[in-house]
Symmetry: D2
């Protein structure tokens, strides 16, 4: 597929960043992208040093200049990965979308809901595609869960319980990662609810097939001096009548990056945990619980290696990039790939949680 | 200890009942009680048949008559186990307490909050003791968790997540058990929130050492025609500033009787699951997670068999009976044994959840 | 059932013993025995003190005298529990069997194979029954596994892997328990292979339905100065052509009392672990793995409490006592209750392992 | 690092192969190799079609021709990945090693021990490097286990239990994979013992730091008509005095690709399972069990993503390729990368098992 490799650029992700490196491995894993240009830092020297270290041919320090220059080249990038702090997603995405370059953007969509609405307008007006890297939607067993729900294997969905817990912010933050993620100006007004709650909310909807319509939330900043929430708890109402709960915490000792999703219907239930991502517990009422596996009996998804050979986070992320490659080839997103709508929905969720919490937990409609 | 065995009676628990049999095994397991009298049914013939089958010497069909007669005998019962449907807890307990006979009562305390308040007044006025069988408080690792929290091993408690899920009412109920437990007249206005949510709330407080002060709840009756909730979701605020969530469901396919409690503080976290009751996950910030075991290194509680020999539900229940025996011998409840206050607190929790849910999730103070 | 309670005696199990207390709880749990006589110690004062502490009416210090006296009383014991060190099993059992009193004996059957053969002759000649408390055969899911194999659900059995690991003898022994269990004169020539390997071998045969015909064993005494093996590893050949492995260790750090049994046939496999005794993993070729539960869908065994309410070691032990009560009532052992044959088979296994190990692992036939 | 990318070739791995695709992803994941030449099939048309599909610039159908041609080019490959059936490892490796091209070879080393000895002589005489892809040695927690043992954290090693179980050959084989792996002419005389037992034996030695010196084995071909063993069971003696067991099975229903390694010493034990490869259970005598995690507290290895973000099989494989890149750059293998010695040791293990089994389980020395 070398001949057909998609030329990729990257904005953000210079030395010291976390998610940029993940995007690069993900883009490389299936051999469908070549990373050929980057604005890895706003500082030209650091941008250049990072690009050199990574063997990226063309280095920029200004994303707008990069968008213009790449759009003008016959061998310019076809897609750009945006891995900056959240407040830059809008301007960077705008620049590339308007230059006709496809965007693969990290989540959450933007720092604020108005920004998200503007980006949604721009994306919908553009012929370039917009892909949002909701990592966990790339896990094969999450997609299998989604397929089972859509196929009616659970009956009518009643209850959706989702949680995403970490402990890395249990003490006052230090370090580059922690700083921008707890700075409302760069990350947005949501702390845990934005950074990881948005993932959890997306998973709940992605698998259940039901949008969240209302939330009643309690956001707390436990660590003294913290400017955003570090623990978010919410009751959820879904479009199809399901009821749910969401917990997102960055102050939960013993939780590295634990996600648990449970979806229960009239006929059966499903449970998925990030710690064992290749398994899905499937329980039909009145029958023994089944453990479904990636690649195992009944599995209808795609897998790179057979059952019993664990795939993980990087493979899930790579699956989003494979989807992006398919999308770019086909000119449209496959139905299982999160795009601008999922991003906007996520920002509405965050905003509604913040609003509800400020209103002492009053139920708040999304959007 | 045969000479010192406590003479026990039982009200309720005739043929076809579930919890009565559990109480009988629990009373027998440590050899500290002799079950010598019973009003196992209001129907004299059934009462007699049940008593005969169980080898119970003295059978009554009227609990009031039993209280009078036993109080008058020199070899009359010293304590009575009440295992009737909830709406009978008050009159039965009153009869025995006022006859000076100690009461060991199943939970929840009563069917309604006013009944609970009345029973609390009676119990406090009585010289007889009142013990509430919150089963899960008898599990050694729950007590170990409580001890660790009290000793400060977790630092200041921030988050308490508790859940109790079953699936046996996922379809329209049938059978004696299901019928009374979903009948507001016999069980109370709370369905799942009363039957199992009260257990979950008790565990949350028992281990965290913090009373729940406010709840914001969403109670749902998913099964058509059901008169009480079968799924309860609530946000919790605790006296010490902790924030929590509680989920109690009887319509969760794949959950037999699953309880999960997580308590997280500034320094460490704890997790306990009913499916593996002899373990406790203990996670200090910045250290590898530890698996504490009943009887294992550091364990300070009591255990009947060494580490690696699983104890279960009946042993936990028996531990409450052993506590009751200690209490009766000492004339006062040990601090780790649930009594009338825990019962009243549980009823306040149920009432607050019902009120909050009817008020569309408005935060509601307990009591 | 009080009127029908079986009068029970006990030999051994005085103050400081472990397994005696377990037998007493097991006998009490289902209310089918009354412990009325005991020779709890050979020292009359200690025997009396122990009996008084336990409320046992008649105390003896000489088991032979006890057998004679009890056999002569109209209200004498009907059965005796033998919980002495292994070398006393033969003389004590002989005394009671010859007095016509049923014997419930702890395992292994005796200290040596010749003793076992003699006891087998005595037991078969006696009208009194002989029951061996192979605890793990009392676990409901072990019996369910046995039933599934017998029903052909696994097809033809190919592989049986069993292990039993502890760590309590990883260092030079101290304490009463450790001392007699590592003393060849009291425990027998087998150390780990006798104390716990015999349990593992029994489980393998009990579930697979196939006797072990040959072993090739490596017994090791890792702890300096230890007179018996503390780690036993063996290859197994079964009567039906299955091949197996057995590991029994008392020097395995991190293992409290862990037993794992896996039985695999042409059509399906089973796995059981002592740490989660209420579950059984059942895997049909080409189908998702199922988790069978005690009391759950498809379960055909007996359970005291519903699925989701864990039963443990004491309940398993009590189930053997319930079986013993059934046997005494019926005059014959139910087919799922280990008796003299299982005991003799276990001793043959131990002897064959010792012989094989001394012959540098040469395959050795049992019996 | 693009400028420094190593030019890689591949022999084998055309359409329909499994492990070839794994090697390609592994080589790509960290961006340190460019796959530029291949002899993917002996059939020129299929070789070309496979190469085109993969975007490989230079296609050969004859590996000897490829070795000559690439050695002669200034931009010829620096290393070759050999992913053919086992019987071709020797001739292919010889061709490339003698052409001065580094070899990255799949395991087991060869089909027979004499071939392995010859390859070892060639490799040692060559200036080119030889790397053997014992996948599981690339798992971070396996390396952490090895480090802990080497650092003395377990004390003196006593017991090593290892197993590797699959079920994909439980029925008569069909398909390309199954055919060559059960054909002695292509795979070697060992079936399960060679294909997966060699992995298990390597892990046991890699982590324990002790070579296996003797085996007593029982190899069985359960499936009718199978020409090689499909179930291997062995007792192990290690150089340092440890005793072990190894089970390798391809007829174990319910096991996809399950590996479990337990290493126990005088002071502590370790357990690793392939199903949860990011965890390591670490149990010091007399302390609570710890769960060590990749990236978590105390971890000293390398990881691509933080704790809580699962890495899997492909990352482990990629870590071997990263090690190969380091080795090629440095001119020598890092100490944690399996090479020709590990390969020869593995073949000695297989041969000794076959010999022992044929001699009815007699202990057989390796080498």
């Amino acid at each position: 597929m070398s001949g057909a490799r998609i030329r990729l650029g990257m904005v953000g992700g210079g030395q010291g960043a976390f998610i940029g490196g993940v995007h690069r491995i993900a883009a490389r894993l299936d051999g469908r992208f070549d990373l050929v240009a980057g604005a890895l830092s706003a500082d030209p020297a650091r941008a250049k040093a990072s690009a050199d270290e990574l063997g990226i041919a063309r280095s920029y320090s200004d994303y707008a200049e990069m968008a213009r220059a790449e759009a003008a080249r016959p061998d310019g990038i076809q897609a750009v990965a945006i891995v900056t702090p959240n407040h830059l997603h809008l301007p960077v995405a705008r620049a590339f979308l308007q230059a006709g370059i496809h965007v693969i953007c990290d989540k959450p969509l933007t720092a604020t809901l108005p920004e998200a609405e503007e980006l949604a307008r721009i994306a919908k007006a553009s012929e370039a595609l917009f892909i949002l890297t909701h990592t966990y939607a790339g896990y094969p067993m999450i997609r299998e869960a989604r397929r089972l729900v859509a196929a009616g294997a659970l009956g009518q969905i009643r209850v959706v319980q989702v949680e995403y817990a970490q402990d890395w912010l249990a003490r006052p933050e230090s370090g580059k990662q922690a700083e921008w993620r707890t700075d409302p100006a760069r990350s947005g007004e949501g702390g845990a609810v934005g950074d990881i709650g948005s993932h959890a909310a997306h998973l709940a909807c992605y698998v259940s097939g039901q949008p969240i319509t209302e939330v009643a939330a309690e956001l707390t900043a436990f660590v003294e001096g913290r400017r955003v929430d570090d623990n978010a708890q919410a009751l959820l109402r879904f479009a199809g009548g399901a009821r749910g709960m969401l917990w997102a915490s960055q102050v939960a000792p013993g939780f590295d990056n634990d996600i648990r999703l449970r979806v229960m219907g009239t006929e059966a239930g499903l449970e998925w945990n990030h710690a064992t991502p290749n398994l899905l517990r499937f329980t039909r009422l009145g029958e023994p619980a089944q453990t479904l596996t990636r690649g195992g009996p009944g599995f209808q998804g795609a897998a790179r290696v057979p059952a019993g050979h664990p795939e993980g986070y990087l493979e899930a992320f790579a699956t989003l990039y494979a989807g992006a490659a398919d999308a770019i080839t086909a000119g449209a997103l496959p139905e299982d790939l999160p795009g601008i709508d999922a991003g906007l929905e996520g920002m509405r969720f965050i905003a509604a949680c913040i609003y509800s919490s400020r209103a002492n937990g009053q139920w708040q409609r999304l959007g």
